[in-house]
């Protein structure tokens, strides 16, 4: 009570600052621990799912036996071998392959190794896959695909995010107008995925009009001049990026528009209108500002989503991205690559969540760290 009555004195300020600092530290520490535990659980579950609780071992052994036998049986180099020679070679090669894939080790040991390696970002070597340049290290497999994915997904998602955000804001102020209705009518176009439009884009711009390339990252052979190379990449980027952009465009506008409409009908907005503020001021101060935490969250998660790539679109456009790589890794049961891709996503997600909680405090005065959670 006394301290409270002396609010503003240096002692109280120090005590308050100290308690705030401790609260923030404590909250931060707890959040970091909780996030880390979440990551550990997520990665362990990923490992368990990736090897289906051990059943993948049985499947992989069967596949190895079948594949090695077929290779030995049909290799022209083995044509003049006797059946016995082929059988012996088959058995030896199966044994080697089982060893190479560590299937001769206990599952629990492998799972523990995968988990520890993942958490320490020791991504190790892939069991089946290689990077584009032929490396078997998971780090290079991921890193070589990262730029292409960032370029494609970053371009498409950032364009989509900002354009839909600002168009939605405008439309929310023009409720019932032609363009508002047009966007609503076009929203079902987003029911089709990006690759669907990709096929049409290829058909129209590459096959019929012949003004855009069918697929790939760059023209073949790639230009030696860096400027021409960059231009060629941009040309190749256009169709896949636009496909992804277009498939999400109207739905995204629709979503933001509806979101902004809710805020546009708040009493304080009506009050601002009554006060005669300009539309721009109303948008910035009375609509955008209170929605900022949601926008930032959405933006952060959009950035995070860039890491995932777009599996089918990348496949159609032969775009060397992470999405296609992850899909291949799943098909090949390449657990180190699956875990490597997942752990990075998990860490990024954890960092993003943590970052967002800090940002909320900065942008929204209603949010307070610790002390029983958010208050308004």
């Amino acid at each position: 009570m006394e301290a409270g009555s002396q609010a503003g004195s240096p002692i109280v300020k120090k005590s308050f600052a100290s308690s705030t600092f401790m609260r923030v530290i404590k909250y931060t520490g707890v959040r970091l621990v909780v996030l880390f535990i979440t990551v550990v659980i997520a990665i362990y579950l990923t490992i368990l799912i990736a090897n289906m609780g051990g059943y993948v071992d049985t499947m992989m052994r069967s596949e190895i036996e079948y594949n090695v036998t077929q290779v030995v049986a049909t290799n022209p180099a083995n044509r003049n071998m006797t059946s016995e020679q082929k059988k012996l070679m088959t058995e030896q090669l199966i044994s080697l392959e089982i060893k190479r894939r560590h299937l001769d080790q206990p599952l629990a040991l492998r799972n523990a190794t995968y988990l520890v390696d993942a958490l320490t970002l020791n991504l190790g070597h892939a069991t089946n896959m290689v990077s584009d340049t032929g490396s078997r290290t998971v780090r290079l497999i991921l890193l070589e695909r990262l730029p292409a994915t960032l370029l494609l997904m970053g371009t498409a998602e950032l364009f989509l995010f900002f354009s839909s955000l600002f168009l939605a804001l405008t439309l929310s102020r023009q409720y019932g107008s032609f363009w508002d209705k047009f966007v609503i009518a076009m929203t079902p176009t987003s029911s089709a995925p990006g690759w669907f439009y990709g096929i049409f884009m290829i058909l129209i711009f590459a096959a019929i009009l012949k003004i855009m390339p069918f697929s790939g990252l760059v023209s073949t052979p790639p230009p030696a001049n860096p400027v021409l190379y960059a231009l060629s990449v941009l040309q190749h980027l256009a169709l896949p990026a636009f496909s992804l952009f277009f498939s999400g465009f109207f739905l995204s506008i629709y979503g933001w528009r509806t979101f902004f409409l809710i805020y546009s009908s708040e009493d304080y907005v009506d009050m601002a209108k009554a006060k005669g503020l300009t539309s721009r001021d109303i948008e910035r101060r009375y609509i955008l500002r209170p929605t900022l935490p949601n926008i930032i969250t959405n933006f952060a998660l959009t950035l995070l989503g860039v890491w995932g790539g777009a599996i089918v679109t990348e496949t159609i456009f032969i775009w060397p991205g992470l999405g296609r790589m992850f899909y291949t890794a799943i098909g090949a049961y390449d657990i180190p690559v699956i875990v490597g891709d997942t752990i990075i996503y998990a860490y990024l997600l954890a960092i993003t969540v943590f970052f967002l909680e800090v940002v909320y405090v900065l942008v929204d005065p209603r949010v307070k760290i610790g002390g029983g959670g958010s208050q308004s």
Binding site: M59, R79, N80, L88, A192, A207, P320
Partner: protein
């Protein structure tokens, strides 16, 4: 309001257009084969050397858009062939195409008797399995699922392959016997089921065993090319018609594998849609009967192990697999027996040989392997050109590139990677794309001596075949390698071999044949290849790799010795206990390419540098060692190992390393080593990779991330560009049969004229192996089979004597003629219907 309506209409149109776009028409049309005569004689001597093209640019494109891309001019060919589903689109586009023999699909049965006595597995009864041959309509499956692009299959041997051609009359007879006949199949199944103690429940129309329905667990694969799923649905329906209760389970390979491969005796499955890889243009399918049916199959998995075949079939299959015959006729007789017995066993009912199709521009001329298409056939790169033109850039589409690191020892074996390297590499022999034999490319001639009594035969004149009662291995021949002393181990006295091949290289080879970096090929390149065949499998070696051991042990189990008889000209003798029936395929060249290394060609100095890196523990040739040691796999084409190789190249230059000096020192001088390393350094600086061959094109530049590469014509190539032009198309015979006018009176002789031509000209009788006829009666049964009589070049006659026509009932009969050529493995069948009347 009107705006609202417009937006509503626009929205509906968008949704409707999306629905329409998901639909596409399907058409079926019969396949065609782009095809010529295999003579390795140049048609002219143009000034151009190397390949016909200036450049070949590889890129990766989606198979879904490949035809469209060719039509749009984005690529000139899509070498990775397209499935039957796209055959109609290829034909509609007017593009040329080459066909590729693909996977073959079968309906595999679990032939085990179940451990649970109350569970009845009907397919443990051979009679039931045999009957199902008639239950499935292979033509229907081919037309409906494979757009008519496959080949209905009855036997484990390749349909329309070399053995099939030899057995054409027997095969056609059996095909007629086991042709789709649903009613007969159901009746035969009923007889066998009843004999096995099952009863038919009249109410449900289903078979019962000990009061329970006979339930069939059918594993249907839903992955792969997707065709096994509809095939499985069809087979399910047919089995249901036969009275079985089918539990159809759709699974992926990885899900089905543990069940069908491991749980036969537990009867956790009864039927499986199996798929098997075709081994290219096979000249010898005699091992297929053991491999596809018998318990001692190399497959070594439960469905085979638990099969209980007829002992006679077991013996015949084993005799064939182990070459227990001494004459071609004896082999033929065994094959005839095996064909018949395999149908009776029917552990697998063969359904279809699938084919895929590699399309290319009509302006492009390219020779294709009859079984392998163009992707991996070396002949394709030696003949590819724009029609009537020299030069130009061919845009070569692929499904992928650089799937694994390139190195010739244990590098990428993916078809597209091997395809690109086929243009870069040379060889001692060129595979004949139409017969599967081989012709001398760099070699000049060969001699083969075989132990008396072995069933080995020759077809071509470049090889001399002799026999000997005993073939002693010279005492100074090399039989093994001492990795410690780095010297070969001499044979000593008393070793004999079953075959001895002697390959002669031309006297001027070391002056005319050069590597792409300008160095002349040398004996040291050959000796390095020989050493590498041994060294990696020796634990004492600095580059020991346990992955090499299984191959080495297999090699050593039949290898008896090698001797370099002469270095100028180069003559190499090889002694072995393994052999194939074709003498042409029994010679060992030791060319420092695919034959010796396995996955590409390389001069000794590149191997030496890579060996230094591996010995230092920084790289590994094989994926196994790379994974085990957590080091990078050696790649000559790009990636992180290039810098490592460059480092060891500098080290080799500094030390002027002569690899395996105790042996290689005999064939290599210090000055030669200096020159080789210096040119390799220059090559790497210019090209940025270590891929060096002797083929008609060299690797100008590789773009690994962009998945593209440029091959450039190698002007230093010694041969004229048109050396292999006579392989432009296969000589597939065209057969025309003219029968008697009007009906044939039963009991009277009937004469049929048979014209055999190619490109409108009579097919030379010396190029034909067989012109045979098969006479079927109205029921489809074979009445008679015999050879046709040569009347004049290209004209044959079939005369059915009166006693033969007397055996025919009144009605429609069929005379089929099978023509088998020496120039091409694919036989031609043609038939004519004729009527017999009293």
């Amino acid at each position: 309001m009107s705006r609202n309506r417009i937006t509503l209409v626009v929205g509906l149109m968008v949704a409707f257009s999306m629905m329409l776009a998901s639909c596409s028409p399907a058409t079926t049309t019969p396949p065609a084969i782009a095809t010529i005569p295999p003579t390795a004689v140049p048609t002219a001597a143009p000034a151009r050397h190397g390949g016909f093209l200036d450049q070949i640019v590889f890129s990766v494109v989606s198979s879904d858009s490949a035809v469209t891309q060719i039509q749009a001019g984005a690529i000139d060919t899509f070498a990775y062939a397209l499935s039957s589903a796209q055959l109609a689109a290829i034909q509609a586009s007017g593009l040329k195409y080459a066909s590729v023999l693909g996977t073959y699909y079968t309906i595999m049965y679990n032939g085990s008797t179940c451990t649970d006595p109350n569970t009845f597995n009907p397919f443990s009864d051979r009679k039931i399995r045999e009957a199902t041959n008639m239950l499935y309509d292979r033509n229907y499956i081919n037309q409906e699922i494979y757009a008519g692009g496959g080949l209905p299959k009855f036997f484990a041997i390749q349909t329309n392959g070399i053995d099939y051609a030899d057995l054409a009359d027997v095969a056609r007879g059996l095909e007629a016997k086991y042709a789709f006949n649903e009613a007969q199949a159901i009746a035969d199944i009923a007889t066998a089921m009843t004999a096995d103690g099952a009863t038919m429940d009249a109410a449900s129309g289903k078979w019962q065993f000990k009061g329970k329905p006979v339930s069939i667990i059918f594993l249907i694969r839903r992955d792969g090319d997707g065709t096994r799923l509809p095939m499985g649905h069809y087979v399910t329906a047919q089995l249901e018609k036969a009275g079985f209760t089918v539990d159809a389970q759709e699974k992926k390979s990885s899900e089905a594998g543990p069940i069908w491969q491991r749980t036969s005796v537990e009867c956790q499955w009864n039927v499986y849609t199996a798929g098997w890889i075709n081994s290219g243009l096979s000249r010898d399918d005699k091992g297929q009967f053991q491999q596809m049916y018998l318990p001692d199959s190399i497959q070594g998995i439960q469905p085979f192990l638990s099969n209980n075949p007829d002992p006679v079939y077991q013996q015949v299959g084993d005799d064939l697999a182990n070459s227990k015959f001494t004459t071609l006729q004896a082999r033929h007789d065994l094959m005839v027996q095996a064909l018949t017995l395999s149908m009776q066993d029917s552990l697998q009912v063969m359904i279809i040989d699938t084919r895929s199709f590699a399309p290319y521009q009509t302006t492009v001329q390219i020779s294709a392997n009859l079984a392998g298409g163009i992707e991996t056939a070396p002949i394709a790169f030696y003949t590819a050109r724009f029609v009537g033109q020299e030069g130009g850039t061919l845009k070569w589409g692929e499904s992928d590139l650089f799937s694994e690191p390139w190195n010739p020892i244990a590098g990428s074996n993916w078809a597209w990677d091997q395809g690109a390297q086929a243009a870069i590499t040379g060889a001692a022999f060129m595979a004949d794309p139409y017969t599967g034999l081989q012709w001398p490319l760099r070699a000049e001639k060969a001699e083969l001596t075989v132990q008396t009594g072995l069933p080995i035969f020759k077809s071509l004149d470049w090889i001399t075949l002799t026999t000997a009662d005993s073939i002693p291995v010279p005492a100074d021949a090399w039989v093994d390698w001492n990795a410690t002393t780095q010297t070969f181990v001499a044979a000593g006295d008393g070793i004999t071999a079953k075959t001895k091949s002697v390959v002669y290289y031309p006297a001027d080879m070391f002056d005319t044949v050069t590597w792409h970096d300008g160095n002349k090929i040398s004996v040291a390149d050959f000796v390095m290849g020989m050493i590498m065949a041994f060294d990696r499998a020796k634990p004492e070696s600095a580059i020991y790799d346990e992955q090499a051991v299984p191959y080495f042990e297999s090699f050593m189990s039949s290898f008896k010795g090698v001797k370099i008889v002469s270095t100028s000209p180069l003559v190499i003798e090889t002694y072995s206990d393994n052999y194939l029936p074709d003498a042409e395929l029994d010679v060992t060249s030791w060319w420092p390419g695919n034959v010796t290394y396995g996955y590409g060609e390389s001069p000794w100095q590149v191997i030496a540098v890579a060996n230094l890196a591996e010995a230092a523990g920084e790289t590994a040739y094989s994926a196994d060692k790379s994974t085990a040691k957590t080091i990078e796999q050696t790649s000559f084409v790009g990636g992180p190992t290039l810098a490592i190789l460059a480092k060891y190249l500098d080290q080799a230059i500094a030390a002027n390393t002569i690899p395996y000096a105790p042996t290689m020192g005999t064939y290599l001088t210090a000055a030669e080593a200096t020159a080789r390393y210096a040119s390799l350094k220059t090559w790497y600086a210019d090209r940025g990779h270590f891929v060096i061959g002797t083929g008609p094109y060299f690797l100008y530049k590789a773009f690994l991330t962009e998945k593209s590469l440029i091959l450039q014509n190698y002007t230093g190539y010694p041969d004229p560009a048109d050396r292999w032009s006579n392989f432009a198309e296969p000589h597939i015979a065209v057969v025309d049969i003219t029968g008697p006018a009007g009906a044939v009176k039963i009991g009277d002789p009937a004469t049929f004229d048979v014209a055999v031509t190619f490109n409108g000209q009579p097919y030379a009788s010396t190029d034909l192996k067989m012109v045979k006829y098969i006479l079927y009666d109205a029921t489809g049964a074979v009445v008679k089979s015999d050879v046709a009589t040569l009347v004049s070049e290209g004209n044959y006659q079939v005369v059915l004597p009166g006693d033969v026509t007397a055996a025919l009932a009144a009605g429609s009969n069929k005379l089929e003629v099978a023509v088998v050529s020496n120039l091409v493995a694919v036989p031609t069948f043609q038939s004519v219907q004729f009527v017999t009347a009293p």
